[in-house]
């Protein structure tokens, strides 16, 4: 486009190294994949890659929502329990509707919609606390974390919600395509399969991945191309400047926290669809992984920087690592050590490689 570096130009070389350094995450991911594929068994397979994608969904969605918040210089600690909160609401709604005689076709979308709507409420409250009452994000969202958990437990009566309509699991664990040599079918296993054929059938592109991908693509577009995204970065860079330029910062921040909440709610609903049960504590262990993913992906906790692509790579790094360790039968507590180390490494590397300078 505008920069052309020839290697005799020292600045160009520095720019190239800077580019590589700033994009270390994706290189790390590739190295990871290669390493595990070589040392593990069955790692480099369609089945395994799909496993990784599915396993990373919760963290990925939480992390993408978190990216918006972190870019504005805030943080959302409540997402861990919004997952459970909306999952429980979704499950309870579906169960109640089905028990009242409604069909699956009706109760599932209704359950999802209700959960999404309620899932926005914590985000709204977070946004109001942070933007209007100027409560520090850390505190406000930690308060909400507790409240969401408490409410989720109340709704679920402290036990996981069961007896969901079976179609839920079908969607949650299904694939877009099913492939058998000679047969290809959409959304469901091909009919009339002999037992041996059933074993060989391969699912391609899990449904939950499609849903997550869809959401992520939409919001990547929003963050990178629209005025809303631009203002998000501006607020993170210099909130006062944004205010004086006429941006309605309070309203914008409320929307940001609602986006984070929305993604957490989506993660909760997908959880329900995968495991066919609603748990109040779903996702609580994943929250700090989500923040780690955002930071590994290049965002700064001070705000103003970060991309969704980076976050996605960060989430994949963690997920690949986790599955890789399982694959190599290494105890998973090493995962915590590894993620902690990568996180610190991420910050150190970002410090060494400053911004790219344009010359023209």
């Amino acid at each position: 486009m505008h920069k052309s570096f020839n290697f005799s130009d020292r600045d160009g070389l520095i720019n190239l190294l800077t580019r590589i350094g700033r994009n270390w995450a994706i290189i790390f991911l590739l190295i990871e994949l290669i390493f595990f594929s070589v040392t593990g068994t069955g790692y480099f397979s369609l089945l395994n890659f799909q496993n990784i994608l599915v396993a990373s969904t919760t963290v990925m969605l939480l992390a993408v929502g978190q990216t918006f918040v972190i870019i504005t210089g805030g943080i959302d600690l409540s997402v861990g329990f919004i997952v459970g909160f909306s999952g429980v609401i979704c499950a309870k709604t579906m169960v109640t509707l089905v028990a009242a005689g409604a069909s699956q076709i009706l109760s599932i979308p209704v359950g999802i919609t209700v959960a999404l709507i309620f899932g926005l409420v914590p985000g709204l409250v977070n946004g109001l606390l942070v933007a209007k009452l100027r409560v520090p994000a850390f505190i406000a969202t930690f308060g909400m974390y507790g409240v969401a958990y408490g409410v989720a437990e109340i709704i679920s009566g402290n036990v996981p919600v069961h007896n969901l309509p079976p179609a839920v699991g079908f969607i949650g664990n299904g694939y877009l395509l099913y492939y058998l040599p000679g047969k290809l079918s959409l959304f469901r296993m091909p009919d009339n399969l002999a037992p041996e054929e059933l074993k060989l059938a391969v699912g391609i592109v899990p449904n939950v991945v499609i849903i997550a991908l869809f959401l992520i693509l939409i919001f990547t577009f929003i963050l990178s191309r629209t005025r809303f995204g631009q203002h998000t970065y501006a607020i993170g860079g210099n909130m006062e400047a944004a205010k004086r330029a006429g941006i309605n910062v309070s309203r914008h921040l409320i929307k940001i926290y609602m986006i984070s909440s929305f993604f957490a709610a989506s993660a909760g609903i997908i959880y329900v669809m995968k495991f066919v049960t609603g748990r109040a504590d779903a996702g609580s262990a994943r929250m700090l992984d989500a923040v780690s993913a955002v930071v590994i992906g290049g965002a700064s906790l001070f705000g103003g920087t970060g991309t969704i692509l980076g976050t996605v790579i960060g989430a994949l790094i963690i997920a690949c690592l986790e599955i890789g360790l399982v694959n190599l039968a290494i105890p998973t507590f090493n995962l915590y050590i590894a993620v902690g180390a990568i996180l610190i490494f991420a910050v150190l590397v970002d410090q060494f490689f400053p911004e790219i300078t344009y010359k023209k």
Binding site: M144, G150, P331, F333, Y336, A341
Partner: protein
């Protein structure tokens, strides 16, 4: 002079609250309000105690006070360490897992020495284990401090990373299972009391009187748990360090304005390292105390969120996450508030998860009070 933003905010709120035309009455009302608000946590705690005692008279008993204190010991130590870090303008997310790490380390040492077939007497095992736990527990703090001070990693990230690493290492050491088979004396120390009183045998120090009659055993009054004494001593020591020494003063200075601190000659990096080591040390004290109480060493579970309750207590106790404010005393009241809440809820039969909601609300209220009345100085 154009007032600072905080001052303006304060005046705006005073404007809305004080409607008395009489100037002196207004001043008195302001003073009273300030007094109330400055100590709102303590007042809230007392109200809470009354509330719970009315609903469940057993709440207001020596045994229950002991329970609350004992249950709060771990968080008290974690929060005390966190106080130093937060005042300096940082944060330490790893304290919960450092506690588990040191618990596991000290228990492993004790078990190792004890199990070597009557080779070492119990007290030696125990002391060795405690020392091991305390010394090893300094390492995460050192690493945290170096990352924050020398490598300028944001504290949130550095301690988040350590959170994972400490937990992972702890689990590695114990293989995921609690470390047991420790010398029995361990539990006696951890669960002992300063004094026991019974109508039969009178007052006895440290030794639990031998009673055979079941009624006598039930009527035994236990005074002041040993674990609480240990914690109290630590809290007093570190509280004095924070409020009376130059080290404490510098901690506030760094939290208030790090540039000013640097320029006045304070060795900020070294100070910060020490701050995180203190936090780590107190967390490892908490871990060793756990081993003494439960006669086993366990890594910290994921759902325990000790660090968040520690941080919440510190903030409720008057500190600001921006740094420069806070006291050990305030933190202690904050911890006791949360502890009473938890035990109180259990005693009156309210589901424990309601306490999350309560804690969330109290936390937000604490911050709002701090914003509206920023002049309430919380660093004496």
């Amino acid at each position: 002079m154009v007032p600072s933003r905080q001052r303006r905010h304060l005046f705006q709120c005073l404007d809305t609250i004080c409607i008395f035309p009489d100037l002196s009455a207004m001043k008195n009302k302001i003073n009273f309000q300030r007094l109330v608000l400055k100590n709102w946590v303590l007042i809230f705690l007392l109200l809470l105690i009354c509330f719970f005692s009315i609903l469940e008279p057993a709440f207001f008993s020596i045994r229950n006070v002991n329970n609350i204190l004992i249950a709060s010991t771990a968080v008290l130590l974690l929060a005390a360490g966190e106080t130093f870090v937060i005042i300096s303008g940082g944060i330490d997310l790893s304290v919960g897992f450092i506690m588990g790490f040191s618990a596991v380390s000290s228990a492993t040492v004790m078990q190792f020495l004890f199990a070597k077939g009557a080779g070492y007497p119990e007290p030696v095992c125990i002391i060795a284990g405690c020392l091991a736990g305390l010394l090893l527990g300094l390492i995460p703090g050192l690493v945290n401090g170096i990352l924050v001070a020398r490598f300028r990693v944001p504290p949130f990230i550095a301690t988040l990373g350590m959170y994972g690493i400490a937990n992972g290492v702890a689990m590695k050491i114990c293989g995921g299972f609690p470390v047991s088979f420790l010398p029995p004396l361990t539990g006696k120390i951890g669960n002992g009391y300063l004094a026991y009183y019974s109508s039969k045998s009178g007052l006895s120090l440290f030794q639990k009187p031998v009673l055979t009659d079941r009624a006598d055993i039930l009527a035994l009054v236990r005074l002041v748990p040993v674990s609480v004494i240990i914690v109290a001593v630590l809290l007093i020591i570190f509280g004095l360090i924070l409020s009376k020494t130059r080290f404490g003063q510098h901690t506030y200075a760094i939290g208030g304005n790090v540039d000013a601190a640097i320029r006045s000659g304070i060795d900020v990096p070294r100070h910060l390292i020490r701050t995180y080591v203190i936090s780590s040390f107190l967390a490892s004290c908490a871990g060793v105390l756990l081993v003494l109480r439960f006669t086993m060493g366990n890594h910290t579970q994921f759902g325990a969120t000790y660090e968040l309750f520690a941080i919440a207590s510190v903030v409720i106790g008057g500190a600001s996450l921006m740094g420069g404010k806070g006291t050990i005393y305030g933190t202690v009241v904050g911890v006791l508030l949360l502890g009473s809440l938890e035990i109180g809820f259990v005693m009156i039969g309210v589901e424990v998860f309601y306490r999350y909601i309560a804690v969330g609300c109290i936390l937000i209220f604490a911050v709002l009070v701090d914003q509206v009345f920023p002049d309430l100085v919380h660093n004496e």
